[in-house]
Amino acid sequence: MIAALIIVFREVFEAGLIVGIVMAATQGVPHNGRWVSGGVAAGVVGSCIVAMFAGALSQAFEGIGQELFNAAILLVAVVMLTWHNVWMSRHGKELAEKFKAVGQEVAEGSRSLLALAIVVCVAVLREGFEVVMFLYGVLASEGIGQVAIGGACGLALGALVCFATYRGLLNIPQRYLFGVTGVMIAFLAAGMAAQAVLFLEQANIVTVLGGTVWDTSWLLSQDGVVGRVLHTLIGYSDQPSGAQLVAYLIVLAVMFTLMKMLAPPSRRQSVAPAQ
């Protein structure tokens, strides 16, 4: 039961942080809750579908199907996060001031929500796939009973992380909120790009700059609680490769450049105060 709790919680935790940030980042955009829960639901359904085809996925592309799949969905998430941030740098201030959008912006807002719903879906899909495979294995060998209780507790704790992240971010004054979530989303995207590169390295597709740039596992292990949180939030790695670092920096540079370039001139200051 405890094992099931820990495994389910660990997987739900990461997705929970991301969902919490997305909820805060879309605060005031009409129907954000509906889009985010839609993303979660799509992720859960997607996990089950991917789990059904786990065998085929593992054999695909000469055994590197899982790596390619993970890299691909992470890169989709990076693009969606970038799109959202660019949209927010154009419209964030209006949202912050009026707390709700009207007319044309509602339509555009729902497009940005679609982008973030896809991000949520991807986050849930990645973690959900592992949970489904784990539960399937348990069902096949040990029966449900205790595991169901452990799994449900893990899920509840993960949901609590999501809620705490969201409520915590809402403590930020409204006029700074989108500035803060924008910076968080930029680092989230950079971290995901670095993870995608790791998968591509494991698939032997990215072979340049494979050396380890630094090893800080003695100082802050990526597998401890703090390391895990930082890994999810800002892409912290205790042994990154050169290629991972390059991808990380490129995404950050592209993201902040686009946000600056596309922001309406008069709003530039208020949109990205952290630059």
Partner: protein
């Protein structure tokens, strides 16, 4: 002098992974046990690790030391590419049965 050293360091950094020949090793899992539970490979050699799951249920081979995790369906097989490593002992395990299903990669 420093510049020359730096240039060589950069060259080594860029070219080492491409030069090394990889080695293939197969490990199987049966009744939640790795066979063999200890694998020995030479240092600075990339490794292609084939994992055969002989149990009917899925497992997830994972290593924190080597930074990979991969689902292996019941009765299935996967390939894990591992970068060339320095000498040392690197733990791997089944994430779904972390306490019992463990193995070690010994790099010499």
């Amino acid at each position: 002098m420093f510049r020359i050293a730096a240039a060589f360091a950069l060259l080594a950094f860029l070219s080492v992974p491409a030069l090394a020949q990889s080695q293939e090793i197969t490990v199987s899992v049966k009744d939640n046990k790795f066979d063999p539970a200890e694998i020995e490979v030479p240092a600075n050699t990339p490794l292609v690790l084939r994992v055969k799951n002989l149990d009917p249920k899925p497992m997830e081979i994972e290593s924190r030391d080597l930074k990979f995790e991969k689902i292996v369906p019941g009765g299935g097989q996967v390939t894990v590419n591992i970068r060339a490593q320095k000498p040392g002992r690197y733990e791997f395990f089944d994430d779904f049965h972390e306490a019992t299903t463990r193995g070690t990669l010994v790099v010499k």
